[in-house]
């Protein structure tokens, strides 16, 4: 079936099987491989993207459910060469090691600050519980999100 959506400002259309997941559409039809697949139980959040401005795990929905909507992936977050404040904070706080969880973690964190602009550490830990990282022990991820919130930046 024909599915069309706007990903990072560009219209992407493709003829896909009805069962195609949004994450597969992003990776295969749009050839954007920054969005990773880490599990098959919607547990890890590596595939988190923004759909109509809100964070979603793109493995939990069908591509067709995103038909006609706006999607932002990690590739669409920076402003040209200028990193988004969350990306910058992840860099400055050493909040990534192997990098596999990073795109989803950053997208989820940006969305968290949209909802809770000045979170406590506990609110960050609760808010990003659905994004798993195996390298950092989360310590520096939490630090990065708190630092980014200090600069008052959500995506919107």
């Amino acid at each position: 079936m024909q599915v069309s959506m706007t990903i990072n400002g560009e219209v992407v259309s493709d003829d896909v099987e009805p069962r195609t997941l949004l994450v597969h559409f992003i990776r295969e039809s749009a050839s954007l491989t920054g969005t990773n697949i880490g599990c098959d139980s919607s547990s890890c959040g590596a595939c988190t993207v923004h759909l109509a401005g809100e964070a979603v795990k793109s493995c939990t929905m069908l591509a067709v459910q995103a038909d006609g909507l706006e999607v932002t992936t990690i590739e669409g977050l920076a402003d040209g060469d200028v990193l988004h404040p969350m990306q910058q904070a992840f860099h400055e706080c050493h909040a990534l090691q192997c990098g596999y969880c990073t795109p989803g973690m950053v997208m989820a964190a940006v969305s968290l600050l949209d909802e809770v602009p000045n979170p406590t550490e506990a609110e960050v830990r609760e808010g990003l519980e659905g994004n798993l990282c195996r390298c950092t022990g989360y310590h520096n991820i939490v630090a990065a999100v708190l630092q980014a919130s200090g600069s008052g930046k959500g995506e919107s």
Binding site: E17, R19, T33, G34, T35, N36, I37, G38, C39, D40, S41, S43, C44, A46, I74, E75, L77, A78, L83, Q87, F90, H91, E92, H94, L96, Q97, C98, G99, Y100, C101, T102, P103, V106, E121, V124, R125, E126, L128, E129, G130, N131, L132, C133, R134, C135, T136, G137, Y138, H139, N140, I141, V142, A143
Partner: protein
């Protein structure tokens, strides 16, 4: 200008990871992979059975190119584990199971399809007729040999380390007869999943008679070696292993797996490139976990707290085939006594096969197992004699003035100051205030009891094993920049940053002008890979030495150009320019020197072979135990870890954080489990208690540097320390919280159910 070494240089790796994502194996675009088929493995759903495989329906499914089973294989049929001491049938893991499956998840057939989803559909249409056999899952039951995993061997014991001379064996029943106090116990250390966020993935193509294998892997040269011996003359032109970005390994991506080793045959047979990646469910059932030890200890000493006699018995659940995990007592036994001066020690160790996934290495790989048992035993001993476990530790540490020291099990520790690490950790934690709060809660009968646990560890990095050396090469480009080749393989450890700092420091250039080449067995001639916390101490030292040779050669060339004696030419470490002593106005850049050099002149190689090092530290955990529900919450984790000289504190702290989280997770949440029939119960992140950030506090790190004389950098390993100290600290803390009830030991993971049961049993 001070040296760049020891400073918090931000990572050079980050930008791509943060903007477009890294290029993991499944992301690779390469013309050699154009038109690749996708491999989907069909996996056994029974732990132990005779099988017959029928692919006749599957081959007719849409998009299916071929379906192969074991009888189709006319090339390699099995991949041997990396340590050839095991009986042949235990050592050789079939690429596809033939007439017998030995664990749930074992591959029995492979579907090749145009698209992965077609492969998934067709895999379900492969009919496997199972003739069930009894399964043995529990390693202690495996010792009884009532069910044999490999009948031809006649026993489930795959290796006995006493027979190999690596364990002492036990002398006689009088061993503890001089001891005033003897405690003993059983310490279960269940299997824990490495669970890298990126699952296993590989791709393969043939080019001019050569195999090109892209793979998510920690040790490309060892993988090349394993495949070369597997395929032999069939790939006379050689094998090129390419490793791009890797989404975590933690020990589970060292040796290649059957699913990966079969790809060259598939690609050859079909005349097409092939890609493979697994699902998380496949990963959790077929990529080996780590730990999987059951220890029995006896610890004896005096009533005033001197530890004098220790026995350790190690039983390893090696799984269905003997991989590296089955041999990791090689790292447990040398660390038996940990940080203590215990003069009389005896050990035994065995591995058994069971109908479970073959055991691999996992962060710490044998050393955390030794630490957990001795650190538990010391606390149990302290409880028995009624002395603070901190004081028992202090009384029995190997003192700082005896290093280097050979322990009672014959291991030579390089440097250490265990009491310093204890004092620093206790000071940072504020032990007195914590004990006061603990007393207050006990006196008030609070349902939320506080526990304080301490563990002091010593571990062995770059342990003596195959691949115990590392290769480095440094060359200067025509532009005067440095190109570094390393046999080490960063999969999150930040080599690009750390190694460029080491070279920049030597050459006086910017780290941004240092290019790192890794993960290509053609471009990097030798290598052993990243494991055993050895990348900086071996890989970094090799690069350090190679850079030093390049500087010497460059000074000789500069002397010619400057018409001066070589001893009068200096390299200004701040500017990276050469000049004659006292005449800095006339100078030469690296590019000037490179222009005058013959091709190949400014190139040097080094192979770092020097010995392993023994980093150490003390971890202190503060837990709150809800005695009504058994729920444990980690409130604080204070760690003082020594890693010798530190190149980049930011990166070292990151390694410690990650290790601590995994060690805490092992103590509180994570366990790979099976039912009695061998059905895995933890095949995804919903069932497996993988730790999230909501379950952890931020960690409190205390620095400590005791340089090692074992390498030119003075660096020790740090990648695994966090996972070694934190598990016993947390386990000791929970026992401490409940000690007033008479609880002395609860096995990990300390789930609410287990903790509640221990409380219930102690109070009823």
């Amino acid at each position: 200008m001070p040296s760049i070494l020891g400073t918090r240089v931000l990572r050079r790796e980050d930008r791509g990871f943060l903007t477009s994502g890294a290029i993991y194996t499944a992301d690779i675009e390469d013309s050699r992979l154009d038109g690749a088929v996708h491999a989907t493995y069909v996996r056994s759903t029974m732990a132990h059975a005779g099988i017959e495989v029928d692919v006749s329906e599957a081959v007719t499914m849409p998009g299916v190119v071929a379906v192969f089973k074991a009888s189709d294989l006319d090339g390699p049929k099995a991949i041997p584990g990396p340590v050839p001491v095991f009986p042949e049938s235990m050592l050789n893991w079939p690429l596809l199971a033939g007439d017998r499956v030995r664990f749930v998840g074992e591959a029995v057939a492979v579907v090749l399809s145009e698209h992965p989803s077609q492969g998934e559909d067709a895999a379900e249409a492969v009919l496997v007729d199972y003739d069930p056999l009894p399964a043995v899952v529990d390693p202690e039951m495996a010792l009884a040999n009532e069910v044999l995993v490999h009948e031809d061997v006649g026993t489930n014991i795959s290796v006995d380390f006493t027979d190999l001379g690596m364990a002492t064996g036990y002398s006689d029943d009088d061993f503890f007869s001089d001891c005033e106090v003897v405690v003993s116990g059983r310490v279960a250390q269940p299997r824990t999943a490495a669970a890298p966020l990126e699952v296993r993935s590989a791709a393969c193509a043939w080019e001019d008679g050569r195999v090109i294998l892209w793979i998510s892997n920690q040790a490309p040269h060892m993988t090349r070696g394993a495949l070369t011996s597997l395929y032999g003359e069939q790939v006379a032109a050689g094998i090129r292993v390419l490793v791009g970005d890797v989404g975590g390994g933690f020990g589970a991506k060292i040796a290649p797996y059957p699913e990966e080793a079969l790809l060259p045959w598939i690609s050859s047979r079909l005349g097409r490139p092939v890609r493979w990646f697994e699902s998380r469910t496949e990963n959790m059932s077929a990529m080996g976990p780590g730990r999987g030890h059951i220890h029995r200890y006896t610890l004896g000493g005096t009533r005033d707290g001197d530890l004098t006699h220790y026995r350790l018995d190690v039983l390893v659940d090696g799984g269905a085939y003997a991989r590296i995990g089955a041999f990791l007592p090689m790292f447990t036994l040398p660390m038996t006594v940990g940080v203590y001066d215990i003069p009389n020690v005896e050990t035994t160790a065995r591995s058994v096969v069971t109908n479970t996934a073959p055991l691999e290495a996992y962060r710490g790989a044998g050393r955390p197992e030794a630490t957990l048992t001795i650190e538990r035993a010391v606390d149990v001993f302290a409880a028995e004699i009624g002395i603070d476990p901190v004081e028992v530790r202090r009384r029995n540490y190997l003192p700082a003035d005896v290093f280097p020291v050979t322990t009672s099990v014959g291991t030579e520790y390089d440097t250490g100051d265990y009491e310093a690490s204890l004092d620093l950790a206790l000071g940072a934690a504020g032990l007195d205030a914590l004990r006061a709060e603990q007393r207050r809660r006990r006196d008030s009968g609070s349902p939320k009891q506080l526990g304080i646990g301490v563990a002091t560890y010593v571990e062995m990095t770059a342990g003596p094993a195959p691949g115990g050396d590392e290769f480095g090469r440094v060359e200067i480009t025509a532009e005067g920049k440095a190109r570094v080749f390393s046999g080490s393989l960063s999969h999150g450890q930040s080599h690009r940053t750390t190694f460029s700092m080491i070279v920049a420091d030597q050459l006086g250039i910017s780290p941004d002008d240092v290019e790192l080449i890794q993960g290509d067995t053609d471009l990097v001639e030798h290598g052993s890979g990243t494991m055993a916390s050895k990348s900086t101490q071996l890989g970094g030292s090799a690069i350090h030495d190679a850079a030093g040779i390049v500087v010497s050669e460059a000074r000789r060339l500069a002397a010619d150009l400057l018409e001066a004696g070589v001893d009068d030419v200096v390299l200004d470490a701040d500017t990276g320019r050469f000049h004659v002593v006292g005449s800095p106005a006339v100078d030469l850049s690296w590019a000037d020197v490179a222009a005058a050099a013959d091709e190949g002149a400014l190139v040097a190689e080094s192979k770092e072979r020097r010995g392993c090092t023994y980093p150490f530290g003390t971890h202190l955990a503060v837990v709150e135990v809800d005695i009504e529900t058994g729920q444990v919450r980690l409130d604080r984790l204070v760690s003082c870890d020594d890693a010798g000289v530190i190149i980049n504190p930011m990166i070292v702290e990151g390694q410690r954080h990650g290790g601590i989280a995994q060690g805490v997770a092992q103590a509180l949440f994570e366990e790979v489990s099976y039912d009695a029939d061998g059905n895995p119960l933890t095949t995804n992140f919903a069932d497996y208690g993988i730790v999230s950030m909501a379950e952890l506090p931020s960690f409190e790190l205390v620095p400590l540097e005791t340089p090692t004389p074992c390498n030119p950098l003075g660096a020790k390993g740090i990648g695994e320390s966090g996972a070694i100290g934190s598990t016993p600290a947390v386990q000791n803390a929970v026992a401490d919280a409940l000690s007033y009830m008479g609880v002395t030991h609860i096995d990990i993971p300390l789930t609410p159910q287990k903790v509640w049961a221990a409380i219930d049993s102690a109070t009823s």
